[in-house]
């Protein structure tokens, strides 16, 4: 395998080194050093391609500290698709057994042995008594994902309750979920991605599922790709499904949520799949809510750093803080997000600014009267 195939070398060639990415790359906005910016990473790739640089620990650090958020892709005046380049290069490193990082291998091995990126075998049936009541086969499937099932079972419970109350016919992977593959894809472990896809496709087919709904945007992306490839089912993010149910009158709001909120666009929902308005319309449907925008929103929204939390914990925290500050200056009291990873990362910082973070499903559940209060860590 070549370091970069011809097509991606041609993509790289389009870069004029203008530096527009400095204004948008959230890793650079926190780090402030050129090697942590997209243009810097392009210089490094050019150096490797031209044999002026060798693969080193430091170069690898810059390669894997890119959060793959696509902020640079969207902003680039020359339309360089840097995320594609980076993904391909990471695949090359994995294929040649050069990388990924040690922590990434640990997570990949955890998936192999438990199906869960955090290495915890999760019994889906333990999450809510409602799960056992669900049919074993149904046209629709609710997929929780590793973050929700491991760390936020209450969020899963809320979502299951919302869907049950709305008389939505669905099933879940009661025998256990297998990682959606998005983490493996981000670190370039393509063989493992294919394996995860095979397992998940079998689980979907065996349940007669025609539509998969995910809470997590990463899972959404993985299933979206799998559905595009196999045409065996369709994929929906929870915000799409919930807005449909609201519009059909199947979700009824019983109480106001009187607060000024802002919506943070998760990269894998926004820039990756252009789902900007649906989550906003869903939030606006909740009575009492006043939605304000952060200065950097939609296409130019920042990234919480969730994809690089391991092992770049400090960078992740710095990136999340930039978002929380933005929300604070926008005058919001709550940051609503549609991604459990963003929720996790922003929640560790928001208290410093006297802000709370809330998952969009929680907001809906609260207004339906399903949960007493918006949960806080």
């Amino acid at each position: 395998m070549k370091l970069l195939d011809k097509k991606l070398q041609n993509e790289l060639i389009k870069c004029t080194h203008c530096g527009t990415c400095r204004t948008f790359c959230p890793v650079f906005l926190y780090m402030g050093k050129e090697s942590y910016n997209t243009r810097g990473r392009i210089f490094l790739l050019e150096g490797l391609l031209e044999n002026k640089l060798k693969i080193s620990e430091e170069v690898m650090d810059r390669i894997y500290s890119c959060s793959m958020c696509k902020a640079c892709d969207v902003a680039c005046p020359s339309s360089v698709k840097f995320t594609k380049i980076m993904k391909s290069f990471r695949s090359y490193l994995a294929d040649e057994n050069i990388r990924p990082l040690e922590d990434h291998y640990k997570m990949a091995n955890a998936i192999k042995s438990t199906g869960n990126v955090f290495g915890k075998r999760i019994e889906i049936t333990d999450i809510s008594p409602l799960v056992n009541k669900l049919p074993n086969e149904a046209p629709n499937l609710l997929y929780l994902g590793c973050v929700v099932s491991t760390f936020y079972p209450n969020l899963a419970k809320t979502m299951i309750k919302i869907l049950s109350e709305a008389n939505y016919q669905f099933t879940m992977m009661k025998d256990g979920e297998y990682c959606c593959s998005s983490f493996l894809d981000l670190v370039g472990l393509e063989r493992e991605v294919r394996k995860a896809h095979e397992i998940n496709l079998e689980k979907i087919k065996s349940r007669g599922v025609k539509n998969v709904t995910t809470i997590c945007p990463f899972c959404y992306g993985a299933f979206y790709e799998l559905s595009k490839e196999t045409k065996a089912f369709s994929t929906q993010h929870s915000t799409e499904l919930l807005l449909e149910l609201v519009n059909e009158g199947k979700i009824k709001f019983k109480r106001n949520f009187n607060a000024t909120v802002t919506y943070f666009d998760p990269c894998h929902l926004g820039r990756y799949h252009k789902l900007y308005d649906i989550p906003r319309n869903l939030i606006k449907a909740v009575p009492g809510v006043k939605l304000v925008e952060m200065e950097k929103n939609k296409e130019s929204s920042m990234c919480c750093g969730g994809t690089i939390r391991v092992p770049y914990f400090d960078i992740r925290s710095g990136m999340s803080e930039l978002i929380v500050k933005n929300a604070y200056y926008a005058g919001a009291k709550y940051i609503i997000t549609a991604c459990p990873s963003c929720y996790h990362n922003l929640n560790t910082i928001a208290f410093k600014y006297d802000l709370a973070v809330c998952n969009i499903e929680e907001l809906i559940g609260y207004s339906m009267g399903n949960i007493k209060e918006i949960s806080k860590i």
Binding site: I13, G19, T23, E34, S35, N37, L44, S56, E58, C76
Partner: protein, 462 residues
Amino acid sequence: MDNKKLSLIEKKIKEIVGQENFSKEITERFCYIRDAAPIDVTEETIPDIIVWPRDSCQISKIVMLANKMLIPIVPRGAGSGECGGAMPIEGGIVLDFTFMKSVLKIDDENMMCLVEPGIVCAELNAILAKRGFFLPPVPASSEMATIGGCVANNAAGYRTVKYGSFKNWILGLETVLPSGKVIWTGSKTRKTSSGYDLTRLLVGSEGTLGIFTKIRLRIHPLPECRRLLIAYYNDIENACKTVIDLMSSNILPSAVEIMDKLSIEAVIKYGIELQKCESIVIVELDGTENDVRQRMKVVKKISVEHNAFNTHIGISKEEIKDLWKGRKSITPALVAIKPNIIDEDIAVPVTQVVELFKRIKGISDELGLSIATYGHIGDGNLHPDILFDKRRPEEVDKAIKAVEKLREIVIELGGTLTGEHGIGIRRMKVLKMEHQEEEIEVMRLIKNTLDPKNIMNPAKMI
């Protein structure tokens, strides 16, 4: 730099700025080899050290050290310049201003502000806008370019036709001289006749005479209203004649831009809605609403008199944004046609633009290269973008030849080789095309007097 010298300076600089603001890692240094200079700038050297200073005191100490040890120093803002001005071609220390980006003061009543050089133009304008002000020179790179870099290059942009370039907006500069001494130039007043105008000397000096550490800028109240007219033509001559008439009238437009056929075709192909034609002129007016409305009628009349076959006026913010879209999408649109561009930056007296367009077409036909020309025609500043593919050596040769021919024509027409991008490395060798040897000698004397050891951004400008 030899290892002994490097370890000595490493120790001293770390004492000044702290370990975290110093790097000699190859991974970091490699990212500072180039700025946005295109392929015709071939000189490349990896700098020895990268430093992220935090204040003028640190910079002064570092410069003193560099002066004593004869180490080149290259100040760098966003590295968005297109002439290699931030390229450390003799190695040495790169001073990266990313962390010196504070707005120190905004004085609404005296309409001025004091900033550190690392603040990005668009960020400063966003802050000023909240208080009803703006900094009028808007280079195309304002989204990433720093104020320090803009001052060093005397940057300009599309509003220069009314408001002038950066040099018209600088009241004073705190500058670290190549000796390490810190001086303040200029005054807090809007005018001064006191002494030599060192501020004007330093603006546009591209980091060769000193390093700006604080910048005092004039600011302007935001206009009550902005409107835009876009006029379509079946030829380029009438478009140019419209502009000549506009500029000599009392209209005082805040932007007058042109796009030629190739630029128009490229942006249409790129997905922007524009009418297919030979040329487009865009005119922006600002001021009070009544005044703008009246003046816009005259702009339309002049355009129609010169056979504009269609005109459209944008009134709302959204309409204006839509009408600007075509002009602002030229670069990505051209890159979609050919992967590489040499963006030239020539300016001629406005009456010569018709001839200039003819000659550019001549170069394009002769070399068989596509050249898309657009730019700030109101002040005669055009950007002929030479399109090529750097993987094809014959195209690279032709592109470089086109640049040479273009330069000869510009001088013949009484123009300048750079309206707003500067000299850097890219135009250093051709400076003599535009300036007499005696004039260059005066420049050299100034440089030698201020920087006798030639440590400040060496091998640039002259």
